[in-house]
Every structure is written in C-alpha cells, then in structure tokens.
C-alpha cells in the first residue's frame, strides 16, 4: 500500500514536533497547577511512559515486521476482535486529531486573528495537511525534515533572548512537598508521551528497521529534554504565576525585551506553534489514513484522504464546545484514554502474541 520508505532519523524528526508542538504550549500551565515549582521534574517522570510505549510498539513490530497495529491485531486476537480493536484505534486517533486542530485554531484565534471565523482556520489547516498526506510518507518525511529547523531554532533563540530576565531562584524549593506533586503533574504530560505509539504506523516502512528502536528511544529522550527546558524557562520567568496563564510559553515570548528594541517576539512562538501543529496534525492524519485503508482492506489510502479530512474538521467541533471543555479534556480524559488505548491495549496484544508464539514453538 505505502511504497515510500523513510529512514529512522526521518521518523524521529517527524515524531519530535508530533509530540512537542502541543505539549510546550499549554501543558506547562496544567503541570504547574499540580506540581507548583517542581513542574520541570514532571516530564522526566512522564517520559518513562514514553519509553515503555516505544518498547511495546517495537516489540510488536518485531513479531509482525510488515504490519501496522490495525493489521496485526487481527492476527493476534482473531479477525472480528481485531477489527473492533482497529476501529477503537481509528476513532481514538480521529478524535484526538480533531482536538489538535481545534487547539491550534483556538490559539490562533485567541491571540492573533480575533475576528476570523474559527472554522476557516481549521478548514485551511486540514486542507494543507491533506495535501501532504496525499503526497505519501516520503513527502511527509521530507517536509518534517525541512521544517525541523524552523521549529527548533526559534525555541533556541527564545532561550537566549529571555536569559537576562531569568530568576534562577524560582526553582526553589525543590521537592518542598515531597514526590507526590511532581508525580501528579506527570499524569498529563504522560498522556502526551503515549502518543509515541504512533510509530507503529511508520516502523514497517523504515529502510533501516534495526535502528527503529534506537531512534524511537532517542526521540523520547529529546522530547523529554525539550519539555524540561521549556518548563524551566517558564518557571524562571513566570514563577508561581505559571498556572494562571493559558499559554505560558506565549507569555514568555511576549516578555522578551533585549536592549529596549528587540521586543514583541510572540511571532516566534507563533512560528513554532504553526509549523509544529502542521507536522503534528499531518503525522496523525497519515496514521489515520493508512490505518483506515488497511482496516477496510483497500488497495490505496489516497482516495479516502479528503473524506477523512472532513471528518477531522467535524470532530474538531463536535468534541469540544469551548476552551473550558478543551482544558477539562486535556486534564481529565485524554491522559487516561491515551494510556488505555496507546499503552494498555498494545501491552495486552503483545502479551497474547508472545504467548501464542511460545505455544506454537512448544507444539512444533
């Protein structure tokens, strides 16, 4: 079905904005609510979930090297049950991608395009992403590579530019109330780390399959480091006021003032956000398109890309009436749902697959 091949480095570059893009914007505020001044520790704890997810995805890939989760779930637990699991995955991914579209558009409308109808912003992004998904995996990989510097460099600049305003003492007290607050704070970013299961859609198409695991783990580490650094920047600038901001990194971007003339750099944050959201949505969109085609036993996924795009736009409205609900969903529902679908179900599949393999080997 997918004839393109990507390298494992390309996969890493696709997954990195795929996780970080939305996680750096609103998650620091949510984490800070629970972990107070220790919220920079939470991504480290949350990344454990990421390592486990990558491990599970890779082990499953090892057992069924040419297949994605939609296909091998049928082989592991039978055709009917497998289809149900596959359907669950697809609905989950369509729903969270709709969510990302909404989150992206809410941010754009909230801070810049106040009068523009949100449906237009969502529809344009969906349209753009469908182009790249139709272009295939190779096009997606190349695009991610191309945009990677645009995504990471502004982040580096941001660190340098706000450096003079850092109040390093904000980091104290470290673990003032024990380990519990950072653990509580880790639950929400943990949900983001489960999204690493998406590599199951890319692993079969790697040119260097053996490196898949290594690069997957590396991506988790780099994502963790990025989140820790972003959380520290936010902490050093905003301190205890972090949890009051909806978009803390944006507030930090606005705070820049270097030499009295280098100011108003929120557009740098915006650039990170738009490029990141574009890659993120495309990566998930691709997974959905490929998965749906496999689920329906189609010979190609390209014809259904447009219709799936419409579905994504609809889901971005249906699932959330307001930013309040969006926030509630990110805090309450998403981490648990993500953990269930992207870690516990795959773990369960892996358990059965390994047992079956042993049984088969035993009988031979």
């Amino acid at each position: 079905m997918e004839k393109g091949k990507i390298s494992s480095l390309q996969m890493a570059i696709m997954m990195y904005p795929g996780i970080v893009a939305t996680a750096i914007l609103s998650v620091p505020s949510i984490t800070a609510k629970y972990a107070k001044t220790d919220f920079w520790l939470s991504p480290i704890l949350a990344s454990l979930i990421g390592y486990m997810t990558v491990y599970i995805a890779y082990k499953l890939h090892k057992l069924y090297p040419k297949q994605t989760v939609i296909q091998f779930s049928e082989q592991i637990i039978g055709r009917f049950a497998g289809k149900i699991i596959g359907f669950l995955f697809l609905v989950f991914y369509i729903q969270i991608t709709g969510n990302m579209l909404r989150q992206y558009a809410e941010f754009v409308v909230d801070s810049f395009l106040v009068n523009t109808p949100i449906s237009l912003i969502i529809a344009l992004m969906a349209l753009l992403c469908s182009f790249i998904v139709r272009g295939g995996l190779e096009a997606l990989g190349r695009a991610a590579q191309l945009f990677f510097p645009i995504f990471t460099l502004p982040l580096l600049f941001l660190i340098i530019l706000v450096f003079p305003d850092f109040e390093f003492k904000n980091i104290f007290p470290i673990l003032g109330e024990g380990m519990m607050p950072p653990i509580k704070g880790a639950i929400v970013p943990g949900g983001w780390f489960t999204e690493f299961f998406l590599i199951t859609f890319f692993l079969p198409f790697l040119t260097d399959q053996k490196k898949g695991m290594k690069y997957g783990m590396m991506t988790v580490f780099v994502v963790m480091m990025t989140l820790v650094v972003v959380n520290l920047i936010v902490l050093f600038i905003l301190g205890l006021a972090t949890s009051f901001k909806v978009y803390p990194l944006m507030s930090v971007g606005r705070y820049i003032s270097l030499g009295g003339f280098f100011e108003h750099l929120e557009s740098a944050v915006m650039a990170i956000w738009v490029v990141g959201a574009f890659i993120k949505i495309s990566v998930f969109y691709y997974g959905i398109a490929l998965g749906t085609a496999q689920w329906l036993n189609l010979s190609d996924y390209r014809p259904i890309v447009w219709s799936l795009g419409i579905l994504l736009v609809i889901f971005s409205f249906w699932s959330l009436p307001s930013t309040v609900e969006l926030h509630k969903y990110s805090v309450g529902t998403f981490p648990l749902l993500g953990l269930l679908i992207q870690m516990i179900i795959p773990l369960f599949l892996l358990g059965i697959a390994v047992m079956r393999k042993r049984k088969r080997q035993g009988s031979e």
Partner: protein
C-alpha cells in the same frame, strides 16, 4: 490545460495571505501610549487614554525643528466613565475614530482612590486581554491620574514616555504587570507600585509643561493600597530588592566637617532566612562598593586611615537606610514588599506551609539582622580635596 488550472489555484490562494478577516491597517489604529484608570464619586470607573497622533509627528519634527516643534501635542487624551474598564472602553471607542490598540501601551496609571478600593478587577482586564504587555509598567498617582496624561513634557514627546524613561533609569521602583501578578498570587500577597506626582512647570514654561515623576512607593496588601512610603524609604527597599542603580550616597564622616558623596554605587544583597527554635530570622548581608564623586571634607582620601573613616560612615548610612525601609514595611505597613516570604518559602517550604495563612501576623515579628560590608574603590581624577591649599588638608 491542467497546468493553467494549477497556476490559477495558486493565484487564488494569494487572496488568503492578507490575513482574511483580521486585516488591520496602521492608519486605522489609535495607538494608546498610556492609560489611566480612576474611580469617581458615583462608583464609576473613569478610563483615560493617551492616544498617539501620527500627524503631529510628521509635521512637527520634520521641518528642521522649528522651536517648539510646531507647538502641537503629539498625543490627545480622551476619557470616559463606565461600570468597568471594558464598559468604559467600548463607550470611549465611539469618541475615537480609529480602533483602540493596546499593543504599544507601556504605562498604566491607577488613581490613588481606586488603588485603595482594590485593583484586582482591573488587573484581570489587563492580564486577560491579549494586547496589553506583560512588561508594561504600572503606577499609582496622587490625585487624578488623568492629569499625568494631560501634561505636555518639554523634553519627551508625551508624558507616558517620561514615566517609562524614569522607570528604565531605576529612579523608583520598576514594576511590571508580570511582577504585580506574581506578587498578588504568589506567596507574598503584597505589592509595591511607584507613586507618582506632577512636577509643576518651571519659570517661563507654559502652563501644562509639567512632568509626572516618581516620588515614592505605594504599598499594596493583597490588591488594596494601604499607604505610601517616602523617597528615602523607597531607596532602602530598592537596596533590599537588588534594584539599586544610578544613585548617589551622601555621607558625613565622623570627626570632620563636610560631606563625601559616592556615585556610582553598586551593591549585592543576600537575604538569608533562618528558623531556629521556631524563631524566624532574616539575615540581610549587604556587600557594597562606591566611587567618590565629591569630597567636601578636608580628608585626603589617599591614606588608608581616612578611607576607613569614610567607609565606616558609608556602612552606617547604608545600614540606617535599610533598617528604615524594613522598619516601615514591617511595622508601619505590615506588608511584605521586600519578599521575605519568598525567601522563607524557598528555603523552608514545610515551615512556610504552617504560617502561610497568617503570614500577616508572622511577618512583623520576623527578626532582622543587617550586616553591611562597604568599600570605596576609586576616588576620581584628583587625590586631594579639590581647591583646598595643601596645608589645610588633614593628614592621617
């Protein structure tokens, strides 16, 4: 044929690049340079905006600076009452033909009366609205804050600029919106704002040519103003908050007539919290350096002994200033504007938790010990008192 269609599509997309619905032209904007908020007798808010006039800039300064720059003001001031800021703003919009734009507004002034009734509701608007900046400076003015906007300063283009420049010089406290938010929601729950007054115009200047200037500090407990501090005490607070810059210290050394002035002065302050046997204590360690800028005594500052005399006076002076400031904050205002709470919270989070709710009572009881280490490093271009005959110089 297909290629032409593609090209047409691409050209069609150009139409979307203008930013659609949110296209804003600069000449449709009323750029606010400063805003003042006060409360009136009928409990209504009065919002005054100082709006920049682009026309005045091009005609006034362009023609080789003809005296008073054409005499026209670069800004206009409009005000309007309403039940809160957003209400007043929407009414005010009908008096201004362009759309009000907050993005460049770096000065917000609260009236004293409003500050005493609480600013939380108004801060909410400023923090929630996407346009006002986290780095905008906040002030409290004596009397009607609108007056501060209406004056036409001779040196700067408009009065908002005057206040901003003064704040950048660290003359008084430099307080941004971010600081206020952190102060109000953070552990201290107290804040300090620069307190401004109008400096009357000098002789020969026109009636409105006064400027607003910073005379001290308005002290806030939670979101309500509880009092003001004099300029002298403000200096002490600045020392404690490590915001000291551009400042002259005047000393009276013991045993000689006259004064010695030091400038520039640099200082490093360390606040070290201690809790021993349930007794809260704050060690304030000051390490300061200065250079002599004026010597009105007959001491030759070349000998170590005379330097020592001056350094001792220096040390005493700084100690007095800081103690005065602490005394005022702790006992007169009972508001923690020197951020002791933050230091305690950072070092003793567990003990802090216990007093968190009654910090108001604990704060005045915190024992303070001030240790000053003062040095004079340089003495300028002459090494003896200037203009004094050699034989009158006191040698030690």
């Amino acid at each position: 044929m297909k290629n032409i269609l593609h090209i047409l599509c691409i050209f069609g997309l150009i139409l979307l690049l203008s930013g659609c619905w949110d296209r804003v032209e600069v000449n449709d904007l009323a750029i606010v340079t400063a805003a003042a908020i006060d409360i009136k007798d009928d409990n209504q808010i009065e919002l005054s905006l100082q709006v920049f006039i682009p026309k005045a800039l091009s005609t006034g300064g362009g023609q080789g600076g003809s005296g008073q720059g054409g005499g026209g003001a670069a800004t206009l001031v409009r005000s309007q009452r309403g039940s809160n800021i957003s209400d007043a703003l929407s009414k005010l919009q009908s008096k201004i033909p362009r759309k009000v734009f907050w993005g460049q507004c770096k000065v917000f002034i609260f009236g004293e009366k409003l500050a005493k009734q609480g600013i939380q509701e108004h801060m909410d608007f400023l923090l929630r609205h996407p346009q006002p900046r986290e780095r905008a400076y906040l002030y409290v003015s004596k009397g009607n804050p609108k007056d501060a906007l209406e004056v036409l300063p001779p040196l700067e283009r408009y009065s908002g600029e005057v206040l901003r420049e003064l704040s950048d010089l660290h003359i008084g406290m430099q307080v941004t919106m971010q600081d206020v938010q952190e102060g109000l929601v953070g552990v201290a729950q107290a804040g300090a704002f620069p307190f401004i007054k109008i400096l009357p115009p000098g002789k020969g200047e026109e009636k409105l040519q006064g400027i607003p200037y910073i005379v001290g500090t308005a002290v806030f407990k939670k979101d309500k103003m509880v009092g003001t501090m004099s300029e002298k005490a403000t200096r002490g607070i600045l020392w404690l908050r490590n915001e000291m810059e551009a400042y002259t210290v005047i000393l009276k050394p013991e045993g000689v007539k006259g004064e010695v002035s030091l400038n520039p002065v640099s200082a490093r302050i360390k606040l070290i919290p201690q809790i021993r046997n349930d007794k809260w204590k704050m060690l304030v360690n000051v390490d300061t350096e200065g250079a002599v800028v004026q010597n009105g005594t007959n001491l030759a500052l070349t000998s170590p002994k005379s330097i020592q005399t001056v350094e001792k006076a220096y040390q005493e002076d700084i100690k007095d200033r800081i103690e005065l400031a602490i005394q005022q904050a702790q006992h007169k205002m009972k508001a923690d504007i020197i951020k002791f709470s933050k230091e305690f919270y950072r070092k003793y989070p567990k003990e802090w938790k216990k007093v968190e709710n009654r910090w108001d009572e604990v704060f005045p009881k915190v024992e303070v010990e001030v240790n000053v280490e003062a040095h004079i490093r340089r003495q300028g271009y002459i090494n003896k008192p200037g203009g004094l005959p050699e034989k009158e110089v006191k040698k030690q």
